[in-house]
């Protein structure tokens, strides 16, 4: 063996070449890690900013919805279709004509400032009272969310499905909150879909009394009693007439 030195040199070169991919790999991993760390750091700062901004946005949105309650008002402005009105007129001609006019008036006259006052306060009241209603799971959902948007969702759902459970719930809730105009509106909507729900007729009449339309309430109740002979309605009519509601 006389060519050992060149062979040794060749081996050194070979070893270097063999190690090169490893060096490249390690360097690449290091580079990727470095880039990822830098990127993460940058993202974190950005995220904090973004988080703050989104928080602020949420707060403002919440306040506007609480104050204005736009969607609900918009829904209420919707005038019922002539065919639907006719359908109800067949069941209760007297009541319907007076109610229709009344509801439109109510909605058109609806002052935003009054809404502000009524919506702002009694959120806790809704929760406690609705918990006692075991009949509707939907109420519990609203309690969990406790936001105005939940009422909007129910109203939206009603317009899609015409489920009287939804409209009656809204009528009762608004009545309890003292928002009698909305209570009257939702009771009316319930009656339009199903004219045999006693609770809805009672809320409708009570809301009218609270709004100072006692005669209308008496007329409605009289017509309903004639049709259903309901003791609850009779008792309410008595209370209205006596002025003890």
């Amino acid at each position: 063996m006389y060519d050992i030195k060149p062979l040794e040199e060749e081996w050194k070169k070979y070893k270097k070449k063999k190690r090169r991919p490893w060096f490249v790999l390690i360097f690449s991993i290091f580079l990727i890690l470095l880039i990822s760390l830098t990127f993460l750091n940058y993202k974190e700062i950005d995220f904090i900013k973004f988080y703050d901004m989104s928080k602020a946005e949420i707060v403002t949105n919440k306040s506007t919805t609480l104050l204005i309650d736009k969607a609900l008002t918009a829904l209420e402005i919707k005038k019922p279709k002539a065919s639907e009105v006719r359908q109800i007129a067949e069941i209760e001609p007297m009541t319907v004509t007076s109610n229709e006019n009344a509801s439109i008036e109510i909605v058109e006259d609806l002052p935003i400032s009054e809404d502000l006052g009524t919506i702002k306060e009694p959120r806790v009241n809704i929760e406690t009272t609705t918990i006692q209603e075991p009949r509707k799971k939907m109420h519990l959902e609203i309690i969990e969310t406790t936001s105005v948007s939940a009422y909007k969702d129910v109203a939206k759902r009603f317009h899609q499905s015409h489920d009287t459970d939804d409209s009656l719930f809204l009528a009762k809730s608004y009545y309890r909150k003292g928002n009698y105009k909305k209570a009257e509106y939702w009771a009316f909507q319930t009656n339009k879909v199903n004219g045999n729900i006693e609770e809805s007729w009672l809320i409708f009449a009570k809301s009218k009394v609270k709004l100072g339309r006692k005669n209308e309430a008496i007329n409605i109740l009289t017509a309903y009693i004639k049709r259903s002979n309901s003791t609850e309605a009779i008792s309410l009519l008595y209370k209205i007439k006596k002025g003890i509601l």
Binding site: I4, E8, W11, Y14
Partner: protein, 270 residues
């Protein structure tokens, strides 16, 4: 002082010396297969495989083992020309020498073979048969048709040789024995047995499993390549042993030296 690696180096000098034959599972199996095939009434047996898979040593071994029992002849080197081949064949068949300036009458020799049928059974081991041209192979086939002469034809496995096999032997009664490169286990046994045969226990012990794996990777299990690599490997060791002992570990073969040998032989490149 003589280096221990000098003896180890000489173990791996490539030869077909029967004394160097190493019993391995694969080689024993090929040997038995060939021996069994030769007992069958076959005209031609084809032994093929890549160079360095042990065809020649197998033929040599079978010749050595059977030469005293049967009429077996080993043509280790191919004849330069047809004349030389027929002179050799004439000698085998007639047991007489022909003067150099005499031509063999081919058809007369074929007839002579036919007359031998049932009287003698001659086996001719033809190594490196890829050196014979197609015309020559055709004549060999005619001899084998006499059924007095059996040919064991050893060929390198290449596309061309497969073609020869197809063209000349496909329609004949023949058997194919293929020799393959050694597995890692077989090659490891081969290296260790070779060293132990020469009492080089310490050297054998210094070649560990991962070294054997590396050797197998470089040589792909080819016996000839393995011999070459180990010869070069021990040559480098011998140099270090004599000139720079600090670079060698007697307990364990340095990977560096195996790689250097592989570099020298061109198995790996810079």
């Amino acid at each position: 002082m003589k280096s221990r690696y000098e003896a180890a180096k000489n173990v791996f000098i490539d030869s077909i010396d029967i004394g160097d034959y190493i019993e391995l599972d694969s080689s024993t199996s090929a040997y038995k297969q060939l021996e069994h095939s030769m007992d069958k009434p076959l005209k031609m047996i084809l032994l093929f495989g890549k160079p360095g898979t042990g065809k020649s040593i197998l033929l040599n071994r079978i010749h050595n083992k059977l030469k005293n029992q049967r009429e077996i002849h080993y043509f280790d080197t191919p004849a330069i020309n047809e004349k030389e081949f027929f002179h050799k064949l004439f000698k085998v068949l007639t047991k007489k020498d022909l003067p150099n300036n005499t031509e063999v009458n081919f058809s007369a020799l074929v007839n002579f073979c036919k007359n031998l049928r049932g009287k003698r059974e001659i086996i001719i081991l033809l190594d490196e048969a890829q050196m014979y041209g197609p015309e020559m192979m055709e004549k060999i086939r005619l001899f084998s048709d006499s059924r007095a002469v059996k040919f064991v034809v050893s060929l390198h496995k290449t596309e061309d040789e497969d073609l020869i096999a197809k063209e000349h032997f496909q329609s004949r009664i023949w058997e194919v024995i293929e020799l393959k490169n050694a597995s890692k286990e077989d090659q490891s046994k081969y290296i260790h047995k070779k060293l132990l045969k020469k009492n080089l226990f310490e050297v054998a012990n210094a070649i560990k499993d991962k070294d054997l794996k590396l050797i197998h990777t470089f040589t792909k299990g080819n016996y000839r390549e393995c011999n070459k690599l180990l010869f070069t490997l021990f040559e480098i060791c011998e140099y270090y042993d004599k000139n720079d002992p600090s670079k060698i570990n007697y307990e364990h073969m340095p990977k560096r030296i195996i790689e250097m040998a592989a570099l020298k032989l061109g198995y790996i490149h810079v």
